[in-house]
Amino acid sequence: MTAFLALLRRDLKVASRNAIPLLMATLTQPILVVLVFGNILPRLHLVAAEFRTVMVPGLMSITMLMAGVQGVLMPLTVDLSGSREVDERLLAPISVLGVALEKVTAGAIHAAVAGLVALPAMMLLMHRVTGVEVHPRWVALLPLVILCGLLSAAFGLTIGSQVQPRFSGLLFAVILGPMMLFGCAYYPWSGLSVIGPLQYVFLLNPLVFMSESMRLAVTPDVAHMPAPLLLVGTLGFAVLFTLLGARSFERRTVL
């Protein structure tokens, strides 16, 4: 446990020193989207005003997913393919599983903070825009943000320990892009009943559960997935990716 906490302390210290670039990396995208889709397009009457309310929780979930990618996936890909800094950790008196779980924990904290910072940033940008119904319920928000953070970090571990760096461009085009477009970030899952049973295919996308979790927590007036389904989905994917990630991490690090 000592080694686990020491590794976590190191990761949080390094992250806090790089807070500004890290925040820029995670916040630029949601802020720009809010400016265009939440401000410009509604004024041009090109999108409905409610869209602003619908996309705020979605953008939070995308922000968290990207934080998991930047905090765990990208560094791990570089590490495993060359710098091998991970070997120092593996030689510490801690199990391989312990090293993997520490990465998930640090990544989850990073992602949760990114999500929590994105929310007020977006609210600030839209505070004069009428028709935005964002009312965070903090009691639900905090545990859900942590859970979604865990899910995105575990996802980062799973993909990061499998992808070769030369495919990281492909990763955005083939995995992350579709995940975001079909992740119910810009529309509520319940609304998908219009497409019939295909609605359930969306449940294969972990981001759907993150978006719906945030929807429940910050825009309670918008229809969202039933809470039990959403909890089972988020928790289930978090556990699944932690297990898969830990396994492929071990395969890549101990030959």
Binding site: A3, R10, V14, R17, S83, D87, L90, L91, A92, V254
Partner: protein, 325 residues
């Protein structure tokens, strides 16, 4: 007293994939290292040195055999084994996001050292490795030699019993290499057990008390450098590069004073000269007799040299090959 390190019947086979066959990297390696000994694993790239080291450090899972550090089985009790070893890896894997000083203090924290001890040890090792001035710099801004010293300082932070070094001087300039040798010698004199892989003969000869010459995953010979050299027949080595229609080898082998003849195969050299290595007892007139035999065989002679045997000669004698770079 138990051995600092014992390796028994170690086998490591990397499983193949659909496209690549399985690789038997280590095929039954056994040796013991006594506490305080400086031990070397010498061999070409791909001989199995790094895999052996990986099995000792828990980063490679052995297929068969047993490795124990200070009596502790590294597969069954990896965490306890890891407390006793430290590794200077071939890839300089310094934490690039923190300062030189923090590389040391964080490493000590992973091993659970209390803060005051972390700080005092870091101060002492920075001074010992002449890195105090660089304490606030980022590791990647250091030269290769300094990075290597930082890796050694990091390894010493948790007070290991056994220090394992994988090709520690690779890529260093001659001055940095000599400085590193001095550092390693000092650590050895201080009582630390050191195990080093290398493919530099000079380095192995100067530093190691005992050497295992390893190739194709097996130990070919294990002894002190002096004993390894002594084991060569004759006492002198005569190298000849000849080109001839009929082989001159049989003529040379028959000469008095020539104890053994070996043909040396050299990878990547493509002249038509045959490289012969004669283990000779340099009695009176030996060179004359050899030259006469070469002339009598109408051979074209390009190069002659008479030398004391070196570790490299031992290596060539054992493998019939020059050391692959």
């Amino acid at each position: 007293m138990s051995a600092a390190l014992s390796v028994e019947g170690l086998v490591k086979t990397y499983p193949g994939t659909r496209k690549t066959p399985a690789v038997e990297a280590v095929r039954g390696v056994s040796f013991e290292v006594a506490p305080g000994e400086f031990f070397g694993l010498l061999g070409p790239n791909g001989a199995g040195k790094s895999t052996t080291l990986g099995c000792i450090t828990t980063l490679v899972r052995p297929t068969a055999g047993r490795v124990a550090v200070d009596g502790i089985d590294v597969v069954r009790r990896p965490r306890e084994a890891k407390r006793r070893i430290a590794v200077v890896p071939q890839t300089r894997n310094l934490d690039r996001d923190v300062t030189v000083r923090e590389v040391l203090t964080f490493h000590a924290a992973y091993f659970g050292l209390p803060r005051a001890e972390r700080e005092s040890r870091a101060d002492r090792l920075l001074a010992e490795m002449q890195l105090t001035e660089k304490a606030a710099a980022k590791p990647l801004s250091l030269s290769g030699g300094l990075q290597q010293r930082l890796l050694i300082a990091r390894a010493l932070m948790h007070d290991p019993k056994v220090l394992l070094l994988d090709e520690p001087t690779i890529g260093l300039d001659p001055q940095a290499r000599r400085m590193l040798w001095e550092t390693l010698r000092r650590l050895h004199e201080g009582g630390l057990t050191l195990i080093m892989t290398t493919h530099y003969m000079e380095e192995a000869d100067r530093l190691c008390q005992r050497l295992a010459i390893i190739d194709h995953g097996k130990i070919l010979q294990l002894d002190t450098p002096a004993a390894l050299k002594k084991a060569l027949p004759g006492g002198r080595i005569l190298d000849l590069w000849v080109r001839s229609a009929a082989p001159v080898g049989p003529r040379l082998e028959a000469l008095p004073g020539v104890l053994r003849l070996e043909k040396v195969t050299t990878e990547g050299r493509d002249d038509s000269f045959e490289r012969l290595r004669l283990f000779v007892d340099p009695k009176d007139g030996l060179l004359d007799r050899v030259l006469q035999a070469v002339q009598a065989g109408e051979a074209d002679l390009q190069h002659v040299s008479l030398t004391q045997p070196s570790l490299e000669d031992v290596y060539i004698h054992l493998t019939g090959k020059e050391l692959r770079e």
